[in-house]
């Protein structure tokens, strides 16, 4: 045997032994890796998305080093993927069995990937799952539930509140942002002829339209998720959507709401004074601080209708993939994400904590988040089904003609409800 082949054989035997030992240690719960020969867990997310580098910096420079220090032998490799590409990357990686150990998944994606069988049910593998889960907001935790098991833990949460441009209020001659549907419509009337559009949004999906529907006293489906007909096409919802359609007709709502990619975006139009109000999340503060330094947005609850002021829950969950080779270390990192250190470090960057008990500390840390924290108390989840993307498509496709005036609001809502019925039945 030549020297090279002997060396290769030795390396092969060494690799086999290393894999065998690694496997044993994983099974026995012994920490994997050593300081000299660390193991690496890979974590995909989109913290750096939207030009907001602040979140990724906190993760890369503070949180991951802190975890690595307290867990010698484990290295965390964070890979940032733009939000728009993440779903496709996860899908193709699932097909190719190339998923990372951990994923920061949009809360709408968890049932979908759990259904594909590529996630580990955390409620089965974590002894302390109940303890960690009980500490989080129930609404956000529920986004991890699929088929009776929890496939993730909430990582961060957010919601949409009303954000107003102070100059528009001055133009309309009012001091405070509209607090009710009536004041919202009245502000639109006051702004007529001023060149300022009352409201703008980027679509008619559930994320966009549900705050209006819930605040108007309606819903999208019954509580047991068996039918949408009779719920989505209710009189309350017809009145709410008609209000928006009427405002759209009079030019008080930007055409971005029906998917016009040529409309000025909400993130630009608000600080530029094109729009008076938008609904958006806490991350906008960071984005505007970079791009529009002089802009001082006014945050207030979603205008209240007959149902109150109710917004939509957003955020991300952390999930463990079934293909992970280092599940023990990955679970340790998941536990770390639920700690006060992790949760509060990201608060100043626009990430709301998912741990209920940390709510007051969060407001102390960033007083500007008070409106978001309060809004979150009543915020609701979108439909907890695997076909969330189809629901958005249906709402966009069926409601757009109502805004364009080619069908009535009642017809549009009935058509959407009928299609959502089919999804719920499937």
């Amino acid at each position: 045997m030549t020297r090279i082949t002997r060396a290769a054989a030795a390396a092969a035997v060494g690799s086999v032994l290393a894999i065998a030992i690694g496997g044993c240690s994983a099974a026995g719960g012994v920490p994997q890796g050593t300081e000299d020969d660390p193991i690496t867990i890979t974590f995909w997310g989109s913290y750096g998305n939207g030009g907001n580098s602040a979140q990724q910096e906190v993760l890369d420079k503070t949180l991951i080093p802190s975890f690595e220090e307290s867990h010698p032998g484990v290295e965390v490799k964070y890979v940032d993927v733009p939000y728009d590409d993440l779903l496709q990357k996860l899908t193709t990686s699932a097909a190719g069995d190339e998923l990372p150990d951990l994923v920061r998944a949009d809360l709408g994606w968890v049932p979908r990937f759990a259904d594909l069988g590529v996630l580990v049910p955390l409620s089965d593998v974590m002894d302390d799952f109940d303890e960690l889960a009980d500490a989080t907001y129930p609404g956000v935790l529920a986004t991890n539930l699929f088929d009776g098991k929890y496939y993730g833990l909430p990582l961060d949460t957010n919601t949409r509140v009303q954000i107003t441009e102070p100059g528009a209020l001055a133009t309309a001659g009012v001091d405070t942002p509209p607090a009710t549907f009536e004041e919202f419509v009245a502000l639109g009337e006051a702004l007529e002829g001023t060149g300022v559009t009352l409201f703008a949004d980027g679509g008619l999906g559930a994320w966009n339209i549900m705050p209006w529907i819930w605040s108007g006293g309606g819903d999208i489906a019954d509580e047991d998720l068996t039918a949408s007909t009779g719920v989505l096409d209710s009189d309350e919802n017809i009145a709410t959507i008609q209000m928006l359609v009427d405002l759209f007709d009079s030019g008080q709502v930007s055409s971005g709401i029906i998917g016009n990619e040529g409309a000025v975006s909400t993130s630009e139009g608000l600080p530029n004074g094109d729009y008076a109000t938008i609904l958006d999340g806490p991350w906008m503060t960071g984005i505007w601080a970079d791009q529009f330094p002089g802009f001082e947005p006014v945050y207030s609850p979603v205008p209240a209708g007959p149902g109150g002021s109710i917004s939509v829950v957003g955020g991300e969950d952390i999930v463990l993939t079934a293909s992970s080779q280092h599940q023990e270390a990955a679970l340790e990192f998941i536990r770390f994400t639920q700690s006060e250190e992790f949760q509060l470090a990201l608060v100043p960057t626009g990430q709301l904590t998912v741990v209920e008990a940390l709510g007051p500390k969060q407001v102390e840390l960033v007083p500007g988040l008070e409106v978001f924290t309060a809004q979150l108390e009543t915020a609701k989840n979108r439909l907890a089904i695997t076909q969330g993307a189809e629901v958005d498509t249906i709402l966009n496709e069926e409601l757009t003609p109502a805004f364009e005036g080619t069908v009535s609001v009642r017809e549009a809502l009935s058509a959407a409800a009928a299609r959502i019925d089919e999804l719920l039945a499937g």
Binding site: A94, D97, G117, I258, G259, E261, G262, V264, T393, P401
Partner: protein, 321 residues
């Protein structure tokens, strides 16, 4: 292998041509062995290309056909349910599929004709000798080599509500908020980006137009239009056929510009077949249905290409043979 090809590379055939080999006698073994060896040579030359085609084109097509017959689960461990032709039946009954097909056809027609007409006109102008000619050629070809992503975003801003197009025209049209104006904006990008490519092919073809024929026609009193119609056009017919077929294939495969300029919106009304397929596959994880749409598109493009080949061949007495 065709008989012509074999005789061209076969020394024994050469002897037969001269009549040296008596009819009915068997050639010596060594000669037959050499003939066999030589006869595999063309295959060896063809092999790399065919192998690449098989791996990169044929296999994905067959795989797509296979997927289209199932409710395809992307994860290898999951079982995909066999549906037969259900995905195809679903496509033909799906209104949105027909809308996307209509938009694709609109885009193809709206981009192919201008690209040919303007491309040919520019090629005729740039064919004349002039000091600025190389500069202008580069200028016209520049859009072809720029990134689709960059120019799609650029055109989205041009056609935005507060964009340059509205500013120049003095209009307040929401170009990207309506199906037909949106498709028009997307087609404008397709034409702008493609003219340089067709121009380059036509320029190359114009080099081959016999100058003597043009001069003879001029001597006979033919005007510029007659010279173009009777001399130039027949001479560049093969290039015209090539450009048309390639543009039809390209037109039916439009994706990036639609995806980035309108995202298929509003409410999916500017969807083309490929954006709809992408949405079905990656948005709704309906990979079987997405594959069926892809197979239908492939079959459609194949049929259109064959029809065009036949049309151009008939017109030119067999150019495509």
């Amino acid at each position: 292998m065709s008989p012509e090809l074999r005789s061209a590379g076969d020394p024994s055939a050469d002897r037969g041509w001269r009549g040296a080999r008596p009819a009915g006698t068997r050639p010596p073994d060594a000669t037959r062995a050499r003939a066999r060896r030589l006869s595999i040579t063309p295959y060896l030359f063809l092999f790399p290309g065919i192998a690449l085609f098989a791996v990169a084109v044929l296999y994905p097509i067959l795989q797509a056909v296979h997927m289209s017959l199932f409710d395809w689960k992307i994860v290898g461990s999951a079982t995909s349910e066999f549906l037969g032709l259900e995905n195809y039946r679903r496509a033909f009954a799906d209104e949105h599929f027909w809308l996307a097909l209509g938009n694709t056809a609109f885009y193809a027609v709206a981009t192919i004709i201008p690209q040919i007409v303007i491309g040919l006109a520019v090629a005729l102008l740039l064919h004349r000798r002039s000091p600025v000619q190389p500069f202008l050629r580069v200028l016209y070809y520049l859009p072809v080599v720029t990134s689709w992503v960059v120019v799609s975003l650029l055109f989205r801003f041009l056609f935005a509500d507060q964009g340059l197009v509205n500013f120049v025209l003095g209009t307040e049209t929401s170009w990207l908020a309506d199906r037909w104006t949106g498709m028009l904006a997307i087609s404008a990008l397709g034409v702008w980006k493609g003219i340089g490519w067709s121009m380059m092919i036509f320029l190359a073809a114009l080099q081959g137009v016999p100058r003597s024929l043009l001069e003879a026609a001029a001597m006979d009193g033919a005007g510029p239009w007659q010279r173009f119609r009777v001399v130039t056009l027949p001479a560049i017919w093969a290039a015209l056929a090539f450009v048309t077929i390639m543009l039809v294939i390209g037109g039916f495969n439009v994706f990036i510009s639609v995806y980035l300029m309108t995202g298929g919106g509003p409410a999916g009304r500017t969807d083309v077949l490929l954006t709809y397929m992408y949405e079905q596959a990656f948005g709704s994880l309906e990979f079987g249905y997405g594959a069926a749409i892809a197979v239908i598109l492939t079959a459609l493009v194949l049929c259109l290409s064959l029809i065009q080949l036949r049309m151009f061949r008939d017109r030119n007495g067999g150019f495509a043979e």
